[in-house]
Symmetry: C2
Subunit: 330 residues, 2 copies
């Protein structure tokens, strides 16, 4: 299996991307192609003499799509940008998957314009795994599209259920529709219409409306929403978790010796918890509904996240997600 | 000042409501009228012999609107329900404010049908205070209405800014529009249109788009969104915070003696932090845009939350919020 990695995308690119790719190529039995500025990539490879033993190669791309650029225009204009070149490798069969921690909009646009949508899929969706005490909840769409129609939500539900089954190994995954109440009369026009469509589909295990709190509590395997709502929720959760952590650290620092000793004594107990809730354990979110595997990482990804995201891409390919969606959506 | 309290609304009603009202009447110089089943209310008052010294009275109401009922229909049909009777007291000048921790939909419907909307306000909005390291962020609408139009968001922004100024004492509060990116080209149709309206209004300090993470981080004083998005975000945040706390407690319990001692040593440092982030410190969210003060509490409110929410209602009245909104919206 060959995975094309956008070496230039992300707040910490190319350094952390290259480091993550080095970790991944040592961890997984897959070939990795770093796509981007060859000189800049080499700079972070030169301190790794033993890397030559591993199947890690570079494909040069001279341009970079920056965060502020208009995604679709940038993809059209910057033909030699790392994300465009990497996505073309999947299209041309030179790679089995593409991963980028750069501009999400650019990765989505490149996938839509180059790989194209799967026949029958109206809109692709980003499926973000959110850790919960019960395992993981897949939330989609978390930002590929806004102003969704009811049928887009239904397709997201079908694709998400297939992903949860074939990648997470969850049999008959519980699918919920994100709403503001449990009753089927609740919600906005979009969700009320989508509810009816979900009820009529027998191929997925639709369990009714999910409320916001059901996502972190893990009551559903798949939670479906419009990309605007999903993106807001994701960033809110990220900000909330980071804020709580920051304030706890400050409280410990201001709390004198007792607090510091207390924190030290608690560390072992909390370390495994932190690992359980660590979003970087997943590292990447697949874009479902396009003709190929495209995995998107957080802009702030570090090497560990990058390595794990490459694992996500490999699991997508191994799980035959693309074929399952093609059959499921037709 | 007289505050009518729906004694029958909430998961822990009437017990916690009565206990909260007792705390409030001892804490604040205001008169409190408990509205609901007189016998049931008396049951929780009888162990408080000294309560006769305080201005706490009962107004009997024979019916209760339950959580599952259709709000507008229930308000129309149950004329002697506690929330309807309490709201009528505000309408008739027998009380200055109404507070309920019962069905949010019923409280909103009662306010709209009995108090009516302020002239010029198209839709009222629930303004929920969310604690942040910098103080508090007011998010509205958090669930009074869905399928908002751009002008509804604008009115929410104006009303929220006036509330932040006259109740929280924030001069020139920073107003943000909840979106999925900072740039004004981002977002769904609703938010892009609303952005233009906000830019044209000179009476508020519009600071552009807010992202999900800006709410817990406290970068804005007021964040405006559609009620569907606000409600999902609020419940998601609640679920996330509770889940993190629950898992930390479990980790401490499973962590042996070292973890337990560590937790004990940390307790003083974390107690003041917990107080800072405690949502029950606010206790209630005002419904802005109706002809009177209506404050809505969480269904799970305990006595402390109820007491604080009564304080929220008093601050609304003291801050002349109603008059300020009437002037600001015209």
């Amino acid at each position: 299996m060959k995975i094309a990695v956008d070496a230039m995308g992300g707040d910490n690119a190319p350094k952390e991307i290259v480091k993550g790719a080095i970790q991944a190529v040592k961890k997984y039995p897959h070939e990795i192609i770093l796509v981007g500025d060859e000189n800049k990539i080499q700079e972070f490879l030169k301190d790794e003499p033993d890397i030559k033993k591993f199947p890690l190669t570079i494909k040069h791309a001279s341009e970079v799509i920056e965060m502020g650029e208009h995604p679709a225009e940038a993809v059209k204009n910057k033909k030699d940008s790392s994300i465009v070149v990497a996505t073309h490798m999947v299209k041309d069969g030179e790679a089995d998957a593409v991963f980028s921690a750069g501009s999400t909009g650019a990765a989505v646009s490149a996938a839509q314009l180059i790989l194209k949508r799967i026949h029958g899929v109206n809109r692709p969706a980003i499926a973000t795994p959110i850790p919960s005490p019960k395992g993981v909840t897949l939330m989609l769409d978390s930002g590929a599209n806004v102003d969704s129609k009811p049928e887009h939500l239904l397709q997201s539900g079908i694709m998400g259920a297939l992903y949860a089954e074939h990648v997470f190994g969850i049999k008959n995954p519980k699918v919920g529709l994100l709403n503001i109440g449990e009753e089927d009369t609740k919600g906005n026009e979009l969700v009320k219409e989508a509810y009816k469509l979900f009820q009529d589909v027998k191929t997925i295990n639709f369990c009714g409306n999910a409320e916001g709190r059901d996502i972190p509590e893990g009551h559903f395997d798949v939670v479906v929403c419009d990309g605007f709502v999903g993106n807001v929720v994701l960033k809110f959760g990220e900000g909330l978790a980071l804020t709580i952590l920051k304030l706890i650290k400050e409280a410990i620092e201001d709390g004198g010796i007792a607090a510091k000793v207390g924190a030290l004594l608690l560390t072992p107990a909390l370390t495994s918890l932190a690992k359980r809730l660590d979003v970087s354990e997943y590292g990447g979110a697949p874009l479902l509904g396009v003709e190929g595997c495209c995995v998107i990482g957080h802009g702030s990804s570090d090497a560990k996240s990058i390595c794990n995201a490459i694992g996500v891409a490999a699991n997508y390919v191994k799980g035959n997600v693309l074929e399952h969606i093609k059959i499921g959506i037709s």
